[in-house]
């Protein structure tokens, strides 16, 4: 790989390995992701996709392997440090802070808030107030764009399943990430909302945010992604453009099914 290509990589993981007892969940897996791209990660159920997400974000520590994000090795960092560096993930089942308002859910996300420091709560009250106003404005703009602005003052726990997915994505956006890992954004969501979610992803991608998406809905993967990686039984099976993947006989056999 040339120097230029290396610099163009936002995320590069190689040799990732994780065993749970007698099961090898992820076996020597590799994944590369270019700056500004939308990359898909597909594979049969139990292929180790979510585990790979957990390894990338260090929610689970890999047995071995290396993860380089934005030019720096991150596998020794704790998961919250990884998020601070700009790689933020979502969960397969949307998680919200039920007893906080939708707006408070959004306001949790921004990085490096002055008021997060115990002593600054007393010393920097002016600065905190200023940041809160700015963050609230930004949060309301994003909530408006995903159609949740009217719900801002209601409990997040009162949202429907689809609205929770939207809130989770909107919240991730508040953290100003470079890369968002989406775990099945279209699962359990009606077709109209899937269309909306895809539209949001495309829009945010245009603003410079890269995406890594696990998804079983092939229409979503094929319409959004620049590149697709296929995982089967914990190992890489193939990678390429959506067209290449669709015509790859191995992938067809393992995942997409042969007609």
């Amino acid at each position: 790989m040339t120097q230029n290509q290396q610099q163009n990589l936002l995320l590069s993981a190689s040799g990732l390995h994780k065993r749970f007892g007698g099961i090898t969940a992820v076996n020597n897996a590799q994944i590369d992701l270019h700056r500004g791209s939308i990359t898909g990660l597909i594979g049969p159920n139990g292929a180790g996709k979510t585990t790979l997400f957990n390894l990338l974000s260090n929610f689970i520590t890999p047995d071995r392997g290396e993860v380089i994000f934005d030019g720096k090795a991150i596998n020794q960092l704790q998961s919250h440090h990884i998020a601070q560096k700009g790689m933020v993930r979502t969960f397969q089942v949307a998680r919200v802070l039920s007893r906080l308002s939708v707006l408070e859910n959004m306001l949790l996300a921004p990085q490096k808030q002055t008021g997060e420091n115990f002593f600054q709560v007393w010393l920097g009250r002016k600065q905190i107030r200023k940041e809160e106003v700015e963050n609230k404005e930004k949060a309301m703009l994003i909530l408006e764009s995903v159609g949740l602005a009217a719900k801002a003052r209601d409990y997040a726990g009162a949202l429907s399943g689809g609205q929770r997915k939207l809130l989770e994505m909107a919240r991730v956006l508040m953290a100003d990430p470079k890369l968002i890992l989406l775990d099945e954004p279209a699962a359990g969501v009606n077709p109209t909302l899937i269309g909306q979610i895809c539209e949001h992803i495309t829009n945010w991608n245009k603003q410079g945010i890269s995406f890594l998406i696990i998804e079983h809905n092939m229409d979503v993967i094929m319409s959004l992604c620049d590149r697709v990686w296929v995982l089967a039984e914990g190992s890489n099976l193939a990678n390429g453009t959506p067209e290449e993947i669709q015509n790859n006989p191995e992938v067809l056999e393992a995942y997409l099914g042969v007609d």
Binding site: R95, L97, S98, E104, F118, K151, D154, A158, A175
Partner: protein, 372 residues
């Protein structure tokens, strides 16, 4: 009568202080602490022992508070990374351990070493021997007035925000508190504040030996309450509430969950440590049996009564707890078996409350019905 109510005020205020610490840990951060009394034991013993050795009372309290926070640091670093039930087990164990040490250790006293079970006495109680002149009395009354005005202001602010919330019911899945209940709450709150204020003024004017301690504990309670309210509304408070709801979410958003849990745990412990010092001054002699696990569960009762996560609710809970305590103390004049009955009835009241009003008195019912 004035003196009696002064004592009740001190008792209520110190339990409110103690419970505010637990409310920060459990009600706001979600940490299950079944050994909260451990912090109180440390606060009381360190303050008293240092004071017996001749350390000035203010320094002794400060050190007691820091040691209580350090205990939080030690328990926290060893257990907060584990699942939450481990914290519950470890804290209750530590609390019993500390009580047993207090019971079996020989402690220094003015008359030479003394067995722990005989208790510690002859320590200084702040302002007990004070003989104020008219000016000093007036200054103390002025201080009490400031506290009362602060309490009224907090009450007014709380009611106003509820009122506003009630106006904007559109697009909300729940109905906020009705105006009539706000008026009732305002009336009850005002009456209580005025009653405590008038009684306190009388006690200060015709100086009762505990009146100074009462002003001190009310002052500390007001400051701690104010500080906690600021914290809860700050981004710091948002993170600890987020941890209570689902700690994975703040984690993926780049917050150091362990560190915030530790901060909340230590701060709650420090507050309980101060409460411990007041407890020692209130009791005038401390015995290890004053720090049994039941004290922790009094604080749990107070929080559940008032509504978990609400600082104002904790104050209301402490008032009810104290009122119950005093009324039954005077009704059930009898042996130890009747004393046990009082605690049984309290348990029954908590159970009935859990069925009839599980959110507590100031808690929000709609919060219980929300899906995870």
């Amino acid at each position: 009568m004035v003196g009696y109510f002064v004592s009740v005020t001190i008792f209520t205020a110190l339990y409110a202080l103690f419970s505010l610490g637990l409310n920060l840990q459990w009600g706001l951060t979600g940490l299950i602490n079944f050994g909260h009394v451990a912090f109180m034991t440390i606060g009381a013993y360190v303050t008293v022992l240092l004071n017996i050795q001749g350390v000035p009372v203010i320094v002794a309290v400060a050190i007691g508070t820091v040691v209580a926070a350090t205990l939080g640091l030690i328990i926290g670093t060893s257990t907060l990374r584990l699942r939450e039930d481990y914290l519950a087990i470890v804290t209750i164990g530590v609390a019993e351990l500390l009580r047993l040490i207090a019971n079996n250790e020989q402690w220094p006293s003015p008359d030479g070493p003394i067995e722990g079970s005989f208790g510690l006495k002859d320590y200084l109680i702040p302002l007990a021997d004070w003989d104020p002149n008219l000016w000093q009395k007036l200054i103390a009354i002025a201080l009490l007035t400031i506290i009362a005005v602060f309490a009224m202001w907090q009450l007014w602010r709380g009611l106003k925000s509820q009122w506003k919330e009630n106006q904007q019911i559109q697009d909300k899945s729940y109905r906020p508190r009705k105006p009539i209940s706000l008026i009732i709450w305002g009336a009850i709150g005002t009456t209580l504040i005025v009653a405590i204020y008038i009684n306190g003024t009388l006690a200060l004017y015709d100086y009762y030996y505990r009146a100074g301690l009462m002003v001190l504990v009310l002052l500390v309670l007001a400051l701690v309450y104010w500080g906690l309210e600021i914290l809860v509304r700050s981004p710091w408070g948002r993170i600890i509430k987020a941890i209570r709801e689902d700690e994975e979410i703040p984690r993926v958003l780049g917050k150091n969950v362990f560190w915030y849990k530790l901060q909340a745990f230590m701060l709650g412990g420090a507050i309980a440590g101060i409460a411990g010092a007041f407890y020692a001054w209130y009791l005038t002699t401390v015995y290890p049996s004053n720090f049994e696990s039941i004290v922790t569960f009094y604080a749990w009762t107070i929080i559940i009564l008032g509504g978990a996560g609400s600082n104002a609710g904790t104050l209301v809970g402490a008032l009810i707890f104290s009122a119950y305590n005093e009324i039954t103390r005077n009704l059930f004049v009898g042996g130890a078996s009747l004393d046990a009955l009082r605690i049984m009835i309290m348990g029954l009241i908590v159970m009935i409350l859990m069925i009839w009003r599980p959110q507590g008195i100031l808690g929000k019912k709609e919060e219980l019905t929300l899906g995870k």
